[in-house]
Symmetry: C2
Subunit: 329 residues, 2 copies
């Protein structure tokens, strides 16, 4: 690829002159400018953004660590983050942690060594200290990492409340909740808190079963249901699942053992991502996360930190959720 | 972030000595090595990979341009590309072209300015000259760009043949094919060629309708069907769709107008991505693209070019497809 030296040589000027033309700095005669510009065009010269990044100590690159791109929620989230970042002239390095702590740690190290301007953390398999030591602008999705690291979340508590109240309104009185993993203090666990509190307030019998980390396949969910939930299905009349793929698997499982949804069993999911929107049979009753708004908020919050410095807790953002009534309740 | 100068200062040595320790070059006494290493640890020093990239003229960054990450095929493909690249110590810059030629062109320019080592092109909205002028290692997915640019493709012709023969074997004799866009000479068009030739060989009445660019939503496909296909549905008994999301929409549309699948109308799709694998009602009959193998081949072919130079045409890869028999035939 042509270098700035090649341009200078062809135009018959110094490298400093080429640099001045590119940056519109200092006095340059119109003939010289024309010569330099036509040399740049002839050589198809592209300014070296890596050299610029080194010089200005700003790479305009953002790292995003997610559990897995092939999960429809994260694919869609990533797509919105990329579109927002690109509109602000930032590029994205994408990392799949696959829910492995070691991979997540290595990605953080790699991103620091590559001098990204900041990191969007959507994977959370490490203890909080690991994130506090990163020493770069960070924004977190759905987890509180520290008072100096802003987070973006959907309104998980309201989501859990909407789902549970909806099941109760539809006449359920023996409820089950399949949560996400409860070990890390994820904000998604507020869905479970809301479920329990809403059941208690309404004097409804309830149970919570801790789900595994986001499963992306039908088969893994099916196995989990067989091992942990199958025996309980006939004893409950409403189930709130903390994600749509699980809710869909549960619907198919109930159907396979002759339990009618929604007549005998009502099911509410969570997410309303591209899979759910595409699915017609059944149309799931679910809680809609505003995925586009979450992606935009993650990107804009991080870019704001990069360009204007770290804020205090005031910059957390909680985005509203919505009940989508489908055919499973 | 700590610099190499800070490390040298704390360890009481010169920058050259720190650099020697890091690169294991020249003689370093064991006490000096220990001092430098403990200074690096104390300051949490991370070597600057951007400086290294500039020096070595290799960034270990690959650019990937895809139409849209939120489409399940590309999300899954991207996930496999990232996993392979990461295992070889390469990072990915991801770009959503959204099928817009101007965006695609800007991304190519941006990737060159950021000195990526090479580009994986999965979006094809430009004329071929635009790719030939890139002057970087490129590998293309499903499109022949030039004899010096390798491509990776699934065996589209065999896929089209398998789908069409399957419909004929199941007793269909009035066939319809919904292709992708035929304007660019994409390898996916070999599916349509195979459809036509197989119909002709078997003396089967057929028609091809040109579909629009990969639609990712049910609603857009539904509108397309209403406008372009609805009138023909009762006149055919088998339809080969060039993607699964379209096939699923068509199945739902046929159901809504009282046409029974597979009794009155048989449908075959193409892709077998995460959406199709998840979908239980119906299980689609489709042609399986080996998405993991395609992702691995794209990444390994590009890395091979980056590290060992450009090859001739011999390095194209065509990967085998497979008929998955579901409930729609």
């Amino acid at each position: 690829m042509a270098s700035i030296k090649d341009v200078a040589k062809l135009a018959g000027v110094s490298v400093t002159t080429v640099s001045r033309v590119m940056n519109n700095r200092g006095y340059i005669g119109s003939k010289t400018r024309k010569n330099v510009e036509s040399a740049m065009k002839e050589l198809d010269y592209q300014p070296n953004q890596i050299a610029r990044a080194l010089l200005k100590n700003q790479s305009h690159v953002i790292g995003v660590i997610i559990p897995n791109l092939s999960h429809p929620f994260f694919a869609e989230l990533m797509s919105w983050i990329e579109q927002y970042a690109s509109s602000q002239n930032y590029k994205l390095l994408v990392c799949n942690s696959l829910h492995e702590a070691e991979k997540e740690l290595n990605y953080i190290k790699m991103l620091r060594q590559n001098r990204v301007d900041g990191i969007i953390m959507c994977s959370h398999t490490l203890e909080i200290e690991a994130y506090q030591n990163v020493n770069l602008p960070i924004v977190s999705f759905d987890r509180v990492l520290s008072s100096s690291i802003p987070y973006i979340a959907n309104d998980n508590y309201t989501g859990g409340e909407l789902a549970t109240n909806h099941l109760i309104d539809q006449g359920c009185n023996k409820l089950l909740h399949i949560s996400g993993p409860l070990h890390y203090d994820l904000l998604a666990n507020r869905r479970s808190d809301a479920f329990q509190i809403t059941c208690m307030k309404n004097n409804i019998a309830y149970e919570t079963i801790e789900g595994a980390h986001v499963k992306a396949t039908f088969e893994e969910n099916w196995d989990f249901i067989q091992q942990n939930i199958a025996d309980k299905l006939s004893q409950v009349d409403g189930i709130f699942c903390s994600n749509d793929i699980f809710a869909y698997t549960l619907y198919e499982y109930a159907k396979s053992v002759g339990i009618k949804v929604p007549e005998q069993l009502k099911i509410v999911g969570y997410d309303y991502h591209s899979f759910t929107r595409m699915l017609q049979t059944p149309k799931l009753t679910t809680i809609k996360q505003p995925i586009k708004e979450i992606g935009n908020a993650l990107a804009s919050s991080l870019i704001d930190q990069i360009e204007n410095g770290v804020h205090d807790n005031g910059s957390n953002t909680i985005l509203a959720v919505e009940l989508i009534k489908g055919e499973t309740t």
